[in-house]
Symmetry: C2
Subunit: 359 residues, 2 copies
């Protein structure tokens, strides 16, 4: 059975929400935000129980290939799927499914982002085991839902049905996937109790997800089929460069999960955060019991609830609160905690103004 | 008459309130905050109408002597009074008075800080002329009071008597000098209308101020008299180094002006600010019609009423207001506008923590 399971680690993120810490040359998945291993390394470590290095694939952009090798030296060279351009998650997952299908038509595929935080590795692995077992049946798409602890507006949600498939093991039929809500809706979801955070972790047989792509995203399916004959041949790279950019840019959530009804959700309770912004990082640190979160040389007087990252200068603060202050790579960012999710607006503005040297 | 008038420019300030822009090696008086000339150069320029370079003296600390020469190349070398240590304004003024007394027993002495902002040079000079004329009489200490435009808590105040000496020329007997008030008191002063800002600009005959020092600060007078025999001799420097540190550290305001009753105030209406903190600098800039005040590379989204100074990095701001953000000399300061007057607390804290490399 071990032969048939593969993991696809999605590591294509540009990490704009952590700018300027994650400049475009080193996005979030390669940063060591907690502990001593980078996020992609921690993801790799968590997979070792179920997947040998040969069975782990990493999808990323051309410019990050050498970083992936550096962070994951045991990953076989051929196990990197290079996306010539970013086309969101559905084309990436579809391409990987085709690739695995060629290796093993019965392949089971785990899909997970490279840059999430998991606090309890053991519980995570128990949950993963369940997902893989359910996926093996080949009947449903499987996903992990996280019990929400706050009315988070930065995540998508999954509404579960009341009747569980297996309540003891925390497996439920789902009612619907819903997009990131506004605060009011998020509070409603939290109060209702049957809404879970969409973790972005999925498991399925490759043949099943390809069938769903064919059903819900026929254009994508058609495009993938054009690429398929070249896969594993010397022309693969050229074919990808020519054909991948023409694939529709669509997320697996929007393109498949929001439309498909036959989805099972495994409840995950392993301390999860997608670390989507400075705010969530600050939250994470605060749960570790700190007041201000400082890395580097920080001197604060009358300073409260601030996240301060000082790479190579002193950051001094006086009479401020709820700020994210980041000094890194020749840039200083000062941002209110509540606006930290919009840091990518600054990145966009820099592009507009031709100030690419700061990206 | 021109022979008897001298100006003492006090340039000993360490400029801690503008840290980190003004590191201890280059305090505020040497910064070019407005226009193209440094503050001490602007002060020099304003004095040219009444004082030849030979009649201008500059008091400063040993470490700033070369900066003074650099900024004021026409100042004769012997016209720098070097204070071996800072002992506030009264000892400095007393020492200068003794020095001038030796040159001319009838000397009239103008005392003014090196680092204030004056918007209307012509009106300033008219006011100065009046002060010098009144000082010449040798009857009273003369000072300039600034009509307040806001309930400023960063300045000392002068309460004038109702009966003017010369209302037409804006000359009044004073009732009292008062220390920096709290906000409530400052609002009261502003409403009353007979309170003026203490500009720190004074004029008097040297013999008169020395008599007042003898009366109100006998310890200081005694100490100065010990130094006097060495003044102008090859032993002057040694005598100062030995005896000056023993002088009582006291301001002319607290030591003399708050006690003496025979003081005349000339009303000054020439656009004045002591630029005592980032806040007052921001105010000054805002009066020039700007919303955010930025120098250097600043990118702001949803940013209001901020003072941003970026020396050699990009400063990006998002969703913040009323902040002072200064990137300079390997330090980043982020401070609320209302706390900007307390930046010297940070400087003190750095000293306490042995982080002198950032001062």
């Amino acid at each position: 059975m071990d032969m048939k399971k593969y993991a696809l680690v999605m590591a294509g993120g540009k990490g704009e929400r952590f700018w300027p810490w994650s400049r475009s040359s080193e996005p979030k998945q390669f940063l060591t935000l907690t502990g001593r291993r980078s996020l992609i390394q921690q993801t790799w470590d968590r997979l070792q129980k179920f997947f040998s290095p040969e069975n782990i694939f990493v999808a990323t952009g051309q410019s990050f290939v050498s970083l992936v090798h550096k962070h994951l030296p045991r990953l076989p060279e051929n196990n990197i799927l290079v996306e010539p351009v970013g086309r969101n998650t559905a084309p990436c997952i579809g391409l990987a499914a085709l690739r695995l299908q060629k290796i093993d038509p019965q392949a089971i595929m785990l899909v997970l982002p490279a840059d999430h935080l998991v606090t309890n590795k053991k519980v995570f692995q128990q949950c993963l085991e369940q997902c893989l077992r359910l996926a093996e049946r080949g009947e449903s798409l499987i996903t992990i839902g996280i019990k929400p602890t706050r009315p988070e507006t930065g995540y998508g949600y999954i509404e579960k049905r009341e009747m569980p498939l297996n309540e003891k093991n925390g497996v439920y039929h789902i009612k619907q996937f819903v997009e990131k809500p506004d605060l009011e809706k998020a509070q409603e979801y939290l109060a209702k109790g049957n809404f879970y955070w969409n973790s972005g972790i999925f498991a399925w047989r490759t043949e099943l997800i390809l069938a769903k792509i064919q059903k819900y995203l026929p254009d994508l399916y058609h495009g993938l089929k054009e690429i398929e004959p070249f896969m594993g041949t010397p022309l693969e790279k050229e074919a990808l460069e020519k054909l991948f950019p023409g694939l529709p840019s669509v997320s697996i959530d929007y393109g498949i999960m929001e439309k498909e009804k036959n989805i099972l959700m495994v409840q995950g309770d392993f301390g999860w955060d997608d670390l989507g912004s400075w705010t969530s990082l600050a939250k994470q640190f605060r749960e570790e019991g700190r007041d201000n979160v400082s890395k580097g040389q920080h001197l604060g007087i009358a300073t409260k609830d601030c996240l301060v990252y000082a790479e190579d200068t002193l950051v001094a603060t006086l009479g401020v609160s709820d700020l994210v202050i980041v000094q890194s790579n020749g840039v200083v960012l000062v941002c209110s905690m509540e606006r930290a999710q919009q840091v990518k607006d600054l990145v966009g503005e820099l592009k507009t103004k031709g100030l690419e040297q700061y990206l």
